[in-house]
Symmetry: C2
Subunit: 234 residues, 2 copies
């Protein structure tokens, strides 16, 4: 069997064995040996740039994505006809902290006029997905947006209003990354909110979705390099 024919190469078999929930392996990608060597070389050489953690450091990868992206898609259960009771996707600006000072906690700037926010007032359960497709990373590496190598994180939890002890950091986090926000219409009832995270799934490599606990997520030490552009295109 040549390298090109070895679909079930040792690396890929180990990746699948490492998948914590085989039933949930969203993509059990198998690669020819030559392509795998090339991709590993690319990832290693890119890793030398320092911008993205190793794919097997999953908690750190989750923190990296959350900090690099400055917007995400939020899913709610709609309360608006004709899609009442159905899943609903919308776009929100997000920040977990000023550049280089990410906390892992995604903050949002919300108005009761927003249809998804009206959904949250009835059912605060939500899911926030962020992908490096929002940055230049995937395009520069020629990773398709749906490829596992175009890393993404999916957070689930409940949307909550930020309390007084946290409001200063929420404000600094959002306004530093979204300088237009302070000038948004002052009579729209804007308030600072956050996603109280209960579930974290990461897809950053072959072998399927990986779970990170909130404890692992918040305790890991992210390593932000000087070339982190925080979602902005270079």
């Amino acid at each position: 069997m040549s390298i090109a024919d070895s679909h079930d190469s040792g690396h890929c078999a180990r990746a699948r064995a490492g998948c914590r929930r085989p039933a949930l392996c969203s993509v059990g990608w198998k690669m020819s040996g030559c392509r795998l060597v090339l991709i590993l070389f690319l990832i290693t050489s890119l890793r030398g740039s320092g911008a993205i953690p190793p794919h097997d450091e999953v908690a750190r990868m989750a923190r990296y994505i959350v900090h690099a992206c400055d917007w995400g898609s939020v899913a709610t259960i709609s309360t608006h006809p004709p899609v009442t009771g159905r899943p609903f996707s919308n776009i929100f600006s997000v920040s977990d902290g000023p550049l280089g000072k990410g906390s892992g906690q995604p903050y949002l700037y919300l108005t009761p006029l927003e249809i998804s926010v009206q959904d949250m007032e009835v059912n605060a359960e939500a899911s926030l997905a962020m992908s490096l497709a929002e940055t230049d990373y995937c395009r520069k590496q020629k990773f398709d947006p749906q490829s596992p190598l175009c890393c993404r994180v999916i957070l689930s939890g409940t949307i909550m209003t930020v309390n007084k002890t946290e409001i200063d950091f929420a404000k600094e986090s959002l306004f530093s990354r979204h300088p237009a926000m302070p000038d948004w219409p002052h009579d729209h009832g804007w308030y600072f909110a956050k996603l109280n995270i209960t579930n974290i799934w990461v897809l950053d490599y072959f072998g399927g979705i990986k779970t990170v606990t909130p404890e692992e997520y918040y305790s890991v030490k992210p390593e932000y390099e000087g070339n982190l552009t925080g979602g902005k295109k270079s």
Copy 2:
């Protein structure tokens, strides 16, 4: 009353009056007169570039966004513990046609191994959101991802397998925009799917969400310029 003080300028009042569902106006943005004149100038001058339709041509705008973007966020109702029954957001590559030949019909390339696809097998109702934040447009115009000027479309409907009469176009649509797809693992059960659209909401300007009927959406003639990059960054 000076221009700067005229929060309820004639333009903004007309915009709100034109909001088809005042109760759903997600952002009834009001602008000072000077800022409004500046933004109108910017939008008009950009319009001269031909790439984006006028904001009041809402069906055409919806078609523009769907064609310009090559990925989106799909919301489903999760069937996976511990988030069973909750809204779930995920990232999918999308295409409504080869560049310059958009049909308005979003096609997807799905595998039963994908967790969201497993959700769809139980409940095919889904929402697909696409935003010009995925392209260079919003960044170049300095529009925050959550600003109405960073145009987005939210489609609701059901995910269906593409039938035989449509499969060739679905394949051409997806593979021309996502050249990696044909090489994705052949044993993953990939199939061509589409979102059967029943509801279309567009946010592309101040004054709130605007509704487009599927009939309006599919019958409008999109005008694709030679400089349409289809989601790819210039």
